[in-house]
């Protein structure tokens, strides 16, 4: 036994002093790592997501502004379509034609005096009124150009917390409908029909021969003939450019006075 214990002492004593320190250092490092992991594991390394503020800006300010502008465009498109249909029913006039009405339908002429409509100004003023009612904002300029309608108002300031986002409150919408193209063609066709049939005794035959296919006396349904002696005729005119407005075919109601001009 004595020899064996002597061997042990010998074994330990053969270990280099620096080696012993390194042995203990390994255990020390392991202990520190264990402590480190134990303390930090419930906390987890910073799990807070980056970019939260930026995403908030994009969603709460930018995307909301985009939706707001989309809503404005949608409103303008739908209201302009509605105005277009209303004007078509009134022969392009917002109120009564300067030439008066015939059986409630606006006349486009009174004997030799033409009263052709110019709907652009009516559209702009009516749309301004509706936009003001809807948004509470004034739109100083609204322009109609071919099938596009555009307008602008003051900038909108959007606020989220301490962040402020300012954007231009304006619209530019494709209507798939041109007031200018429609009414220019209609007034041209009406002028030709008046010129061709004003002096004709049998107005019915003249109108049936000279009118375009989309012009219908009295109604768009049926084929009514003009009674003899009647010189003021109301027409239902289908869109010369085959426009549909919001899914509805554009149809115009107007009256033409074929009475011969007094000499």
């Amino acid at each position: 036994m004595a020899r064996l214990s002597g061997y042990r002492i010998k074994v330990i004593s053969t270990m280099n002093a620096r080696g012993a320190i390194l042995h203990w250092a390994v255990f020390g490092i392991l202990a520190i790592l264990g402590l480190f992991i134990t303390v930090l594991s419930p906390l987890q390394p910073s799990q807070e997501k980056t970019g939260e503020w930026q995403l908030g800006i994009i969603y709460d300010l930018f995307y909301k502004s985009q939706i707001n502008l989309l809503e404005l465009d949608l409103f303008v498109r739908n209201e302009t379509w509605s105005i277009a249909l209303e004007l078509a029913q009134k022969g392009g006039f917002a109120g009564t034609s300067p030439c008066g009405r015939y059986q409630g339908i606006n006349k486009w002429n009174a004997q030799g005096t033409p009263c052709f409509p110019s709907p652009e100004s009516s559209v702009e003023s009516e749309l301004k009124r509706r936009l003001e009612d809807k948004t509470g904002r004034f739109f100083p300029t609204i322009t109609l150009q071919d099938q596009q309608i555009a307008g602008n108002s003051d900038d909108v300031k959007s606020i989220s917390g301490t962040d402020i986002y300012t954007y231009k409150y304006r619209f530019n919408v494709n209507l798939d409908y041109s007031f200018t193209a429609e009414y220019n063609q209609l007034t041209s066709e009406a002028g030709h029909l008046l010129a061709a049939c004003r002096g004709e005794t049998d107005l019915n035959i003249c109108v049936q021969q000279k009118k375009k296919a989309h012009w219908h006396p009295f109604s768009c349904t049926g084929t009514a003939s003009i009674p003899a002696g009647q010189r003021i005729v109301s027409f239902c005119v289908q869109s010369p450019n085959n426009y549909t407005v919001g899914g509805e075919p554009a149809q115009y109601s107007l009256a033409l006075d074929f009475t011969l001009q007094a000499p």
Binding site: I37, S46, E48, L55, Y59, I67, L74, R77
Partner: protein, 135 residues
């Protein structure tokens, strides 16, 4: 005879333990100490390597999850942007739009990261309508 052999080994190796003795019998004492230190160092480096590897895995494991969430948020944000562009195209093409539904899709569904009912198909020529949105 056996005792003599032991004594001889002990004298040569400085250890009476046979297992200790046989392979170290031919290594001088000074060299043996250095080898001891070198092995200690080697083991310490290995242990430190694996320990640090573990710590690294623990730390980056957490951040990887976070990065995935951030990536998903960014993808959702882009998807919402594409969706809005598609709605504008739909508007220009005359399609009916439901603003409250658009608002809901953008502000709620997409932000919550739930599956969206549409996929942007803006790349398809002549077709700007997202899947799930009626013309």
């Amino acid at each position: 005879m056996r005792d003599n052999h032991k004594n001889t080994m002990e004298r040569k190796t400085g250890s009476a333990h046979p297992q200790y003795a046989y392979w170290q019998a031919f290594i001088p004492r000074g060299t043996r100490a250095m080898l001891d230190d070198m092995l200690d160092l080697l083991f310490m480096v290995m242990i430190a390597f694996f320990a640090l590897f573990f710590v690294h895995a623990m730390l980056t494991g957490g951040t990887d999850e976070r990065d995935k969430e951030i990536s998903a948020d960014i993808a959702n944000m882009h998807r919402a942007g594409d969706y809005l562009i598609n709605q504008r195209i739909n508007l220009q093409e005359g399609a009916p739009l439901d603003i409250s539904l658009i608002h809901e899709n953008v502000m709620e569904s997409i932000r919550q990261g739930t599956p969206t009912p549409f996929e942007a198909q803006i790349d398809q020529p002549g077709h700007g309508t997202p899947v799930g949105v009626q013309d």
